[in-house]
């Protein structure tokens, strides 16, 4: 629905303007490193590389091979915390 999409666009814009998006990004990155998610994904990347060969591997190969698993591998705690912060922001700034 257009209203929804408008809403979405508005929210995203606000997130960026207020710097909240950057803060959320940094928070997520730190948490993922802390919980070992990063190393897991790196190991996945190694497999893709060995499969495709060092010389021929491309970014697209890596992204396509790793992102779906990456999303699934995020621990629940991290996910919950992040969602909580986003909701708080929405509640605070939606009016």
């Amino acid at each position: 629905m257009s209203k929804e999409s408008q809403m979405r666009a508005a929210i995203n814009q606000k997130l960026i303007e207020m710097g909240e998006r950057e803060r959320l990004k940094e928070l997520l990155r730190a948490k993922l490193i802390e919980c070992g998610w990063r190393d897991q994904i790196k190991a996945l990347c190694k497999d893709v590389i060995k499969e495709k060969g060092i010389e021929n591997v491309t970014v697209e190969d890596l992204v396509a091979g790793v992102t779906p698993k990456g999303r699934a591998l995020v621990p629940d705690s991290v996910k919950k915390e992040l969602l909580q912060r986003i909701r708080a922001f929405l509640a605070q700034h939606s009016t």
């Binding site: 959320l24 997520l28 790196k42 990347c45 590389i49």
Partner: protein
């Protein structure tokens, strides 16, 4: 619906939640993408697989924990006892001494030019004093040295036993002739600590017949330059010997027993004895030897004595002015020293 209405109140929670999830997904995807870019770059730059070395290579670089050896397995003083061959002088030098040796050998260190200048100055002094006493004035201004010829080499070797530089010509970094005092001082380091007070008259006699005997005012040591008879001047001295031998002997005996300070009076005495030793590099005038009788120490200042030393004229110290004029053909040296002190000793004799 107004587009500017940003309120979420119209939306139900599910949509809100969906919105939140979307934001979250975007964030996670950003993280994944970032990681992929990093990995891809590491692979292409070649540092992605660095932590996967094989066991053999790992063993090569294991930490060593043995005594006498550092953690890399290297011995600490392995090269201490090795000997290096100097490319300049082709001598075999110990490794720990190699750098200082090279410095001196090539003439390029901080001290090398100083030492070279000193050597040259001293060798100039020795050669000059042998051949021409008169020209020593400018070089050995502060000292009594005749340039003891046998000593310079020994003296330098005390300082630097490994130095090969005696035969080399070295460039002078600065124009200084290192102070004439220093080399001259060294010349007398070896000389015996003889003081005229301690020696008996017979010993004095024997010493003074073979050596100069002049006590330097700077080092308070006796000049041990040997008495070299010179055929030219020997003839002139014959008369002197006969006439004043007795006088000198008596004075000598008296001198040995007296208490003499190392300053002027000592040198006066020394000069007297010196004349007695008939060592005539220069021409000795018979009249000059009546110095003893004159008694007045008017000329008996240090400058006079020094000149007398150089010129080998005996009578300068105690003699009258006339005698001095005769006895000292080339007295270039000006008496730097102050006027003579009261020569009470000779007064008594007279």
């Amino acid at each position: 619906m107004k587009m500017e209405d940003m309120s979420l109140s119209g939306l139900d929670n599910t949509k809100l939640e969906a919105l939140a999830h979307d934001v979250y997904s975007d964030l996670v995807e950003d993280a994944c993408l970032g990681l992929c870019f990093e990995v891809h770059r590491a692979v292409k730059q070649g540092y992605f697989f660095l932590d996967e070395t094989d066991q053999e290579s790992l063993k090569d670089f294991e930490i060593v924990d043995q005594p006498g050896v550092d953690i890399f397995g290297q011995v600490y003083n392995q090269w201490k006892n090795k000997e290096c061959v100097c490319p300049n002088c082709n001598r075999s030098i110990a490794a720990s001494r190699f750098a200082p040796h090279l410095e001196k050998c090539l003439g390029m260190g901080r001290n090398s030019s100083r030492i070279a200048n000193r050597r040259i100055a001293s060798s100039n002094n020795t050669s000059k004093s042998e051949s021409d006493q008169e020209d020593n004035d400018d070089i050995n201004d502060n000292d009594w040295s005749y340039g003891s010829e046998k000593k310079p080499k020994k003296r330098k070797s005390e300082k630097n036993p490994n130095s090969p530089r005696r035969s080399k010509s070295l460039k002078h970094k600065n124009g200084e002739l290192s102070s004439s005092v220093n080399p001259d001082l060294y010349k007398y380091n070896y000389s015996s600590g003889i003081s005229y007070e301690t020696l008996g008259p017979e010993e004095l006699q024997s010493i003074l017949t073979t050596q100069c005997g002049v006590v330097s005012e700077h080092t308070k040591k006796m000049c041990t330059r040997s008495a070299l008879p010179d055929s030219d001047t020997m003839l002139e001295n014959d008369g002197y010997d006969a006439a004043d031998g007795q006088l000198i002997m008596s004075r000598l005996q008296w001198d040995g027993s007296s208490d003499i300070s190392p300053s002027d009076s000592a040198s006066s005495k020394a000069s007297t004895n010196n004349s007695e030793s008939k060592r005539p590099k220069k021409k000795k005038k018979p009249s000059a030897l009546s110095m003893s009788s004159s008694g007045g120490g008017g000329e008996r200042d240090k400058g006079q004595e020094r000149e007398r030393d150089r010129d080998r004229v005996a009578g300068s110290s105690g003699s009258t002015s006339s005698q001095n004029a005769l006895g000292l053909p080339s007295r270039k040296k000006r008496p730097k020293l102050p006027v003579p002190p009261a020569p009470t000793i000779y007064d008594d004799l007279n």
